[in-house]
């Protein structure tokens, strides 16, 4: 019944809502902020897990970020990072196979991970910002606030931006570690995630 109701009235409701939004000069929409395209070859998404306390470095080789950002109005920005989980590598084929298996990333059931934020916030410190967003990994979505520093060179279309930041998440929050891998005494729960993204303003 509900879907029927919406089908029937959608043609009316949507323009009404749109008109309302413009009339009330609501907070700026993400699409108001300029679009930035990530340069994949100059961008890195890395993670560090800990085995017996020693760092294990890895990275996602296939990910993309769609960024809307205006340094004067960070709240008008938005970001969506899409990560292909099967592109994870730690430069060890055996370990990578384990990482992608059902008990860890389960890349067959969860081929993509995603980080989204529908605004940015200015943080204390020069060029410091926060992306208060959500991380969806292995089908589990958790709030994650990503702090980063941003440097922009140039103006208008063609300007380049460099964002670098990182956070520490707990892998078990996202179910990365089923069965035997729930044990954190050998492979720790904490995983550091670092971004180093370069993008060009469109």
């Amino acid at each position: 019944m509900k879907s029927l109701f919406f089908h029937k009235f959608t043609p009316v409701i949507v323009p009404m809502l749109a008109a309302l939004a413009f009339a009330s000069s609501a907070p700026a929409h993400a699409q108001d902020a300029p679009l930035w395209r990530m340069r994949p070859a100059e961008s890195a998404l890395t993670f560090t897990a800990y085995q017996s306390g020693d760092p294990i470095e890895g990275r996602f080789e296939d990910f993309d970020a769609v960024i809307h950002f205006d340094p004067d109005r960070p709240e008008a920005g938005a970001v969506e990072v899409t990560i292909r989980t099967a592109s994870a590598t730690t430069d060890d084929s055996m370990r990578d196979g384990t990482l992608k298996s059902a008990d860890l990333f389960n890349v067959e059931a969860y081929p993509t991970a995603r980080f989204t934020a529908d605004r940015f916030e200015k943080a204390a410190g020069e060029n410091a910002y926060i992306a208060p967003g959500e991380l969806t990994l292995r089908g589990v979505t958790k709030p994650v606030s990503l702090p980063f520093t941003l440097t922009i060179e140039g103006e208008g279309a063609g300007a380049t931006a460099h964002a670098a930041g990182g956070i520490t998440i707990q892998r078990l929050d996202h179910g990365v570690g089923q069965g035997d891998w729930e044990d954190t005494s050998t492979v720790g729960n904490d995983v550091d995630i670092a971004i180093d993204i370069r993008a060009v303003r469109q």
């Binding site: 017996s52 370990r95 050998t186």
Partner: protein
């Protein structure tokens, strides 16, 4: 004056290493078939830890052996038998160094940390390399079978001396009163 038995230190080193090598051989075969899991990592760390002890004991043994020569073999053995005994012992000495060292090569070249008896992590002096780890793995794999063959020859020869030739060659490596 010539001793007829190995001294207690040499005997202790011999039997401690025998136990550790046999145990680590079995552990190595067992853990090789385990699925990747934290417990498997613990088995690997135990295997590596025991291997390190074997290596340290091997060094101690060589030093001890250089200062305390082995008791002589019975003099009725033909030359070829003496040569075979010497060669197989030298090969055994080579392998008790080679197995831990090729194991270390795998540990160092892999990107996995080596935790020694859960006490500390062994730092790797070399950069990770799947090629080197693969080479170490192949050498370690062949080394285990070479070790198995040589230990079998060693044990069978000792039993031959004891039960067939009925001499004191096996007893030289056993504790006992003044022989």
């Amino acid at each position: 004056m010539t001793a007829t038995r190995y001294d207690p230190v040499a005997q202790l080193l011999h039997w401690a290493m025998a136990a550790l090598i046999v145990g680590n051989f079995a552990l190595g075969l067992y853990m090789d078939g385990l699925p990747p899991a934290p417990r498997t990592i613990e088995f690997y760390n135990l295997h590596k830890s025991i291997g390190l002890v074997v290596l340290l004991l091997a060094v101690a043994r060589i030093i001890w052996r250089l200062r305390h020569p082995a008791p002589p073999l019975p003099d009725y053995h033909p030359r070829w038998e003496r040569a075979a005994a010497t060669a197989s012992h030298h090969l055994l000495y080579l392998l008790i160094f080679a197995q831990p060292l090729t194991g270390l090569l795998i540990a160092f070249a892999s990107k996995y940390p080596t935790t020694v008896f859960g006490l500390f992590n062994l730092p790797s002096p070399i950069a990770a390399s799947e090629q080197l780890a693969g080479l170490g793995g192949a050498l370690h794999w062949w080394g285990q079978w070479a070790m198995l063959v040589l230990v079998a020859i060693h044990v069978l020869a000792a039993l031959r001396h004891h039960f067939w030739l009925r001499n004191d060659v096996l007893k030289r490596m056993l504790p006992g009163g003044s022989a």
